[in-house]
Symmetry: C2
């Protein structure tokens, strides 16, 4: 019998799952919509049915050892999803507990960035590292921190929110209700906001000027930058400069061996990495200089969220 | 035989030592000057002789299990003191290795704030906590971070430098060669610099105006504040506001159960704690609000540095 776990990434629109073995091979996979279900119970029932359908062809060859979930605002200690702004299920959802009725195995849950962080350690570029950080640059900025070989959950299960450190008092308004959080500068949304600021401050022609706020995306800024669009280029420079400076601050906290960047914005490659690394080294305290790597995630082209959820439960089963 | 360890706090001017049992009782203690010795070997010889003299009366009743050092720029992994600006011994000093010739027991070393952090956990207010932070507010701002029950040394042994996070780009010049580090705002030196800024910006009479830069101290600001001096009061408010905001950012990294403040400035009590706590709660991300305590160190009136160095080696002996 092939020992496997089920890894599930719960997203605002879609939820993806995979049957994953210890080496990170995905033996079956699938997805269901998330936002179609007003009740979490209905969602879980559909998820179970989709999983069963996907694994049916190999059911006799596998032994399911556990289920891991990555979810927005997921709490590892309690197995809950709490007040997730992008999900229909409001308040505190005892997600892991409720799901246990489908499979008589350990079920664990954490937030998506934490799951990605564990996935990077088990299957990605952080293999063998005891101290590293992962930064996911999507709609927001998610982060997971590993120190002394363990993910930092904090005393109440919600640690690792570097995207919500305030870097600019009275800065850009944040969805969290405060102002100046890092994710409003360094993320797919952040670079779009930056482009609008630059279209205000600069006079150069730019293809970005033809888009309204709803139309502009980080992908379009990336495409424009590749064509040497001055505002798009400046937007990446600005984003990398801010991100690098803040990652230098992160080093003063936990001093990782490497920081991995993942997500849509990280796909821009050197356009983002070059200014980020330069600013990072410029801002580092002397004792940290030229020691710490900023790298693309080793799972950039794979489904890090599903692999992360799978890695989460594998780590748990090891204990 | 009473099992004990030797804890040593190496300071720029004086170095203090204590013979400490598992419960934190100090059975003997003493100190020697640090800055009198150009060579670390001469310093260590004098230290050894002073220790032997102090423990002579009880030598037959004790068994020395280990030696722990807290030192500026101390590296736990290597047992070295590296480029410490306030010590005469320049470059990288293999301090722990050199000292091993005096006692045939384990010798470990870390930086002073890390030692204080471990001391707070073993003997102070953080007993039983798995996630906490200690902030020492002296000449600079030192910090130690415990997560998952372990002190965070980082991959190279120098983690936990919250005082050197840059909070104000192009802000106050820092001794580290950069600008805007937290410790230039929140520390004994920081509040003095703030007082000078306020004497510039405000017009109110203040007893602080009679002191020049070399004469003014955080103690004088504290005394003036107790007499309702407007500039001294404002200086504490400003310091607490900045400190609280940055501690809220620290929570987004490791989410401690409590943050302990220690050192000269922390002795100002509510003058510092009140604005710090207010700013802290105001700046916290929603999910962290009203959960995390900001407390005075439980070892404020004891020698936390010596107890911390002792706790360091006790923790090591447990492994």
């Amino acid at each position: 019998m092939n020992q496997v776990v089920i890894g599930v990434d719960i997203g605002g629109t879609f939820s993806k799952f995979g049957l994953v073995d210890k080496e990170g091979n995905v033996l079956a996979e699938g997805s269901i919509p998330t936002d179609k279900y007003d009740k979490v119970e209905d969602f879980q029932k559909s998820l179970y049915e989709a999983i069963e359908k996907a694994i049916a062809p190999i059911k006799n060859t596998i032994e399911i050892k556990g289920v891991g979930f990555g979810a927005p605002n997921g709490n590892f200690y309690k197995g809950t999803i709490e007040f997730a702004p992008n999900l229909k299920w409001k308040g505190v959802i005892r997600f892991a507990d409720i799901f246990k009725k489908y499979y008589n195995v350990p079920v664990v849950l954490t937030n998506d960035a934490n799951a990605a962080c564990i996935g990077e350690g088990l299957y990605g570029g952080a293999k063998g590292m005891r101290d590293y950080i992962i930064i996911t640059l999507g709609t927001g900025l998610g982060s997971g921190i590993v120190a002394n070989g363990e993910l930092i959950y904090g005393f109440d299960g919600f640690a690792g929110e570097i995207g919500h450190t305030i870097i600019e008092p009275n800065g850009r308004q944040c969805g969290c209700g405060r102002k100046g959080c890092l994710e409003n500068y360094a993320s797919a949304t952040g670079i779009k906001r930056t482009a609008f600021e630059l279209m205000c401050n600069m006079l150069e022609e730019s293809e970005l000027r033809q888009y309204n706020y709803y139309e502009l995306t980080s992908e379009k800024i990336f495409e424009a930058a590749k064509r040497n669009d001055p505002i798009a280029l400046r937007a990446f420079e600005y984003t990398g400069t801010i991100l690098g400076a803040q990652l230098a601050n992160a080093v003063a906290y936990t001093t990782p061996e490497a920081i991995f960047l993942f997500g849509g914005l990280a796909k821009a490659g050197e356009l983002l990495f070059k200014p980020t690394r330069e600013s990072f080294e410029n801002h580092l305290l002397d004792i940290y200089k030229n020691k710490i790597k900023i790298l693309p995630s080793g799972l950039q082209d794979k489904n890090i969220a599903v692999l992360g959820a799978a890695a989460l439960i594998w780590k748990e089963l090891e204990k």
